[in-house]
Symmetry: C2
Subunit: 214 residues, 2 copies
């Protein structure tokens, strides 16, 4: 059968789950949808892929337009394409995961989003489309793949205490971590260094501040 | 901006990389393309997703049509969508990985495929589209994820020697494995059992045959 362009084509979107750690808890950036369908509901930021645009480029652009975030590394989670997942038409979405330090997130809603906010993953609102299911997969992938180095390099502010770093690792993994083992592991990894004399202000017992080695 | 259906849509395909171990070497099923573009070249089997068809269902159907294989578990590798990857139009492809025991593969070319064959992954022909790059990613994912249990359950024939199983694990991982450690690990996994008295025929020194515990 010769090739024809006539068979019906689906629409293709990209969605980006941006994770961060805020107040020692794992959180994700969501936008409030301004348009039908699911207007008013919260959703993972994303939108349609331009016909000449790469998937990753579209993910970066949509995230920027809807939340103001300029993503760092974008890792693809996969494609989600149940035929009935969108009431508009057949929409297949390709989902990306990104990590960001909470102190570098300046959320600014735009495009089809009326609001953009951080939500703790253990306290999520009702989500549009199949985004709850997608987010479950994204969290599973994140927990499967992320290690101490990725947490330190991508999720921490410029200066942090070792307790902050441990809390972030615990938030991402969902498990508690033994402090002594964690400190030993950090030494082996040779990942962080003291900033030099600075201590966290306002703490009951001041703790040294560290930064990631470059 | 209200939603319109008017923006140009890409085509979406699925492709399935079916891996097996044949003669102790890792191999993949390829089809020979019968149609333009890349007619006559070898490719990963696949084709267009029906407008009401799930991605996984399309992958299963296309694999069956082009190679005769009824896939078992299909694991999604991800979406590949460089704008220039197909000369026909913008085509985004969602790629799946599947495993099959070589003795259960009965290849029968059909649909857009003029031939279907096994190729060793270290002796591949020139491939159509970006399928060389896709196959590299698929092999990397396979090596990343597969373990002894998956090799035993999905890649081995009904009866095999422990040496066969070790060879298959080596072929999949790309590394040599120490025989004593491997035998110890097998005991710990409690994964295989002797079939009972049977031995491999024709061997210089007969070896016991095993099967996977159910």
């Amino acid at each position: 059968m010769p090739y024809t362009y006539e068979h019906p084509h689906p629409a293709v979107t990209v969605d980006v789950a941006v994770f961060t750690v805020s107040d020692g808890r794992l959180a994700v950036v969501l936008i409030r949808r301004a348009e039908w369908p699911h207007a008013g509901k919260w959703a993972i930021p994303g939108g349609f892929v331009g016909i000449d645009e790469s998937l990753k480029r579209a993910a970066w652009r949509e995230l920027r337009e809807e939340t103001g975030i300029k993503a760092g590394v974008l890792e693809q989670l996969g494609a989600f394409g149940r035929p009935d997942r969108d009431p508009r038409e057949r929409v297949i979405t390709v989902v990306y995961i990104s990590l960001a330090a909470a102190d570098r997130l300046r959320l600014e809603a735009g495009s089809d989003a009326s609001d953009a906010r951080l939500f703790y993953i253990d306290d999520l609102p009702e989500l549009a489309f199949d985004h709850s299911r997608i987010l479950e997969h994204a969290i599973e992938r994140l927990r499967d793949r992320i290690d101490t180095e990725a947490v330190a390099r991508q999720l921490m502010p410029a200066r942090f205490t070792l307790t902050d770093l441990q809390r972030a690792c615990e938030a991402v993994s969902g498990d508690t971590i033994d402090k002594r083992n964690f400190r030993k592991k950090l030494k082996t990894l040779d990942l962080v260094e003291p900033t030099g004399g600075e201590t966290q202000s306002g703490a009951h017992r001041p703790a040294k501040l560290y930064r990631v080695k470059s």
